[in-house]
């Protein structure tokens, strides 16, 4: 069923059209969006099964053959990413139905939400560099719309900052694609892979750096991340979860696809650069989080620090490194999204995102505290949760390659993450609830007494926490699937791992 590979794009786009047509009827619109993400989840599962059974699924639009026509491909990596996207999309939309800091129900919300998913899905299944650019633009436009939707001045300010840096990023990508096309004569990933393997690296390497730089902007790597902490925290809870869970990861996916698959024949120096960029990304992100007291800002800075881990995995430049990166990505998307959603519930119950105003939630909501602990410990990397295996695989590969400094930075960042997580735990859950400041006493201050309307929120958080625990307890099938997927990437032929294959 090669048409399955179209579904990550077509299903959300169809949902976007339907929800746009139903603008006057909020109930029907909401139902359509929920059904649409449900269908996307089903299609993503079917796609993953198909890839597992038959190997990469591909289709050529208009039946033009590969190097000339537009190709859509889902290999193991792409299918896994599509499934992650569908999970995050469905869960955040479910959360949006609750009363925990939902996005304002503007008519444009659900269509933009679906277009964003279509953009993300498109980047994961495209087999063509120019279409990658187009999907990046689609998701940039949808993200800008979602950022500006609230209409408050601080949100518009955030949108402008997001716009300026991200647009410069996509323009870099466009120029880079033009150069790469001029140098190799191809845009199709398969054809580019062959051209890169055949030709002298010097003929395309200088041009590869330009799109890579663009992907680093999108991923929020050091020192190009300034747009992220300037904008993310102005988003309402479910949208922040969607952004934090998916958008920067799309940048990482693009870097992984370029460096570990299409241009795996790149000289080592370029992996080296990515690896060394990962070190300050991890540390600066974690330190920025340590400064802040606003839950959203803490979590936004942690997005950056987690991007550092992912870049580290790409920078290793081996097959096991790529597989560890994807596992880390999956774990991080689940845990991160959940932490943001929990923060939104904390806001609903405590009346503020600022930790100095929260407190007493452990006594009032022990279940929420448990959910937070699961995600926070997964984030830190405590066994037996998913983060432990992710960090184990990543750091083991780092040490096998004798990259002591990188491993030390990764472990240090783990401690800094623990600091932030314990800060949230102590302030929001453990300490006594501070006396309510009357000048700031909002209606949410009473929420502890009347907690109705949080059912969907708890369901969403519970699903993600369950997935995190499941991934921690049964990592084996996922790891073996990802190892097999990494075996299909270009990096497997160029730099097979010294550690996992046995031979150095």
């Amino acid at each position: 069923m090669s048409s399955l590979v179209l579904t990550p794009v077509l299903v959300p786009l169809g949902t976007a059209l339907l929800t746009a047509a139903l603008v006057g009827q909020p109930r029907a619109q909401r139902l359509t969006a929920l059904l649409g993400t449900g269908a996307l989840l089903g299609c993503a599962g079917a796609l993953l099964r198909e890839v597992q059974r038959m190997g990469p699924v591909r289709t050529h639009l208009g039946a033009w053959p590969a190097p000339f026509g537009i190709e859509l491909v889902a290999d193991g990596l792409g299918a896994a990413m599509v499934l992650l996207m569908a999970i995050v999309g469905a869960v955040t939309l479910l959360f949006q139905q609750s009363c925990a800091d939902p996005a304002p129900a503007r008519p444009g919300l659900l269509p933009l939400f679906s277009v964003l998913l279509a953009g993300v899905g498109g980047t994961f299944v495209t087999g063509d560099l120019f279409n990658l650019y187009v999907w990046f633009e689609v998701l940039l436009l949808a993200a800008l719309g979602l950022l500006a939707l609230g209409g408050q001045v601080r949100q518009l300010d955030a949108t402008l900052k997001y716009f300026v840096l991200n647009t410069l990023g996509t323009l870099l990508l466009l120029v880079g694609i033009g150069y790469l096309y001029a140098a190799t004569g191809h845009l199709n990933f398969g054809a580019l892979r062959e051209a890169a393997g055949r030709g002298e690296a010097a003929s395309w390497l200088p041009f590869l750096v330009v799109p890579l730089l663009a992907f680093l902007v999108k991923a929020g790597a050091f020192p190009l991340f300034a747009w992220l902490p300037a904008s993310y925290h102005t988003l309402p809870g479910p949208l922040l979860a969607l952004f934090a869970g998916l958008l920067t990861k799309v940048g990482v996916y693009a870097i992984l696809r370029t460096l570990s698959d299409v241009f795996a024949a790149s000289p080592r120096v370029i992996y080296e650069c990515v690896g060394w960029l990962a070190v300050p990304t991890m540390i600066v992100g974690a330190l920025g989080a340590a400064y802040h007291w606003d839950l959203r800002r803490i979590l936004a800075f942690h997005v950056i620090s987690q991007i550092g881990y992912l870049l580290l995995g790409v920078g290793l430049g081996t097959m096991a490194g790529a597989s560890a990166t994807v596992f880390y990505l999956g774990h991080n998307v689940l845990a991160k999204t959940n932490l943001v959603l929990i923060a939104a519930i904390v806001f609903r119950l405590g009346g503020s995102y600022d930790l100095r105003r929260c407190g007493g939630l452990y006594k009032a909501r022990p279940l929420l505290a448990v959910m937070f602990l699961i995600s926070a410990f997964a984030m830190v990397g405590a066994p037996p949760l998913s983060g432990f295996w992710a960090k184990l695989m990543l750091i083991r590969e780092t040490l096998l390659l004798e990259r002591g400094v990188w491993a030390a930075a990764a472990l240090t960042t783990g401690f800094l993450t623990l600091y932030s997580m314990s800060k949230i735990w102590l302030e929001a859950f453990w300490k006594e609830r501070p006396p309510r400041d009357e000048s700031h006493g909002s209606e949410a201050g009473h929420a502890l007494e009347r907690p109705e309307g949080l059912g969907c929120a708890y369901a969403a958080v519970g699903i993600l926490a369950g997935l995190t625990v499941a991934l921690g307890l049964f990592p084996e099938p996922v790891v073996s699937f990802l190892d097999r997927s990494a075996g299909q990437l270009g990096v497997a032929r160029v730099h097979p791992s010294p550690g996992f294959g046995g031979a150095p």
Binding site: F130, Y133, V134, E137, L140, L141, L144, A148, V153, R154, Q155, L156, D157, A158, T159, L160, K161, F163, V164, T167, L168, L171, L174, V175, I177, G178, Y179, Y181, A182, L187, P229, A230, S231, H233, T234, Y291, H292, W293, D294, R297, S352, D354, R356, R357, H440
Partner: protein, 129 residues
């Protein structure tokens, strides 16, 4: 060829100059100028400026003439132009609305989303010290 190269250079210079300005509207217009230079660079990648024949298969011939331009980058640029048009519209409206609602046109002074720290160095509590 030289003309296109100069055009890329000039529009890029003008774009970077405007973008580094602190005025919001200038900054946004600068970005769209950088976009123009990116489009021109992409256009030049397809030999469109050195080729002498249009990318049309002539009557009776089975393939393009040897010195024909490559039509693909032209199609790509067209896509990019459409996208940048949408982005430019959006960003202009955004900059104008921000200026109207805050009365600030200086990018450095616009710190609504990231308020500066309190005098004691701590992060502000819900936007105020």
């Amino acid at each position: 060829m030289l003309v296109v190269a100069c055009a890329v250079g000039v529009s890029l210079t003008a774009g970077v100059y405007l973008t580094s300005s602190r005025d919001l509207l200038r900054c946004v217009i600068g970005i769209s100028l950088i976009g123009v230079s990116a489009n021109l660079a992409m256009f030049a990648a397809g030999r469109s400026t050195t080729a002498s024949a249009p990318p049309v298969v002539l009557e009776g011939a089975r393939q393009l003439p040897v010195d024909a331009a490559n039509p693909l980058p032209q199609a790509l640029v067209l896509t990019a132009i459409v996208i940048s048009f949408a982005l430019t519209c959006f960003s202009l409206v955004l900059a104008l609305v921000l200026q109207q609602r805050t009365g600030i046109s200086d990018a450095d002074a616009l710190r609504r989303s990231e308020p500066p720290p309190c005098p004691d160095g701590k992060p502000p509590l819900e936007g105020e010290c």
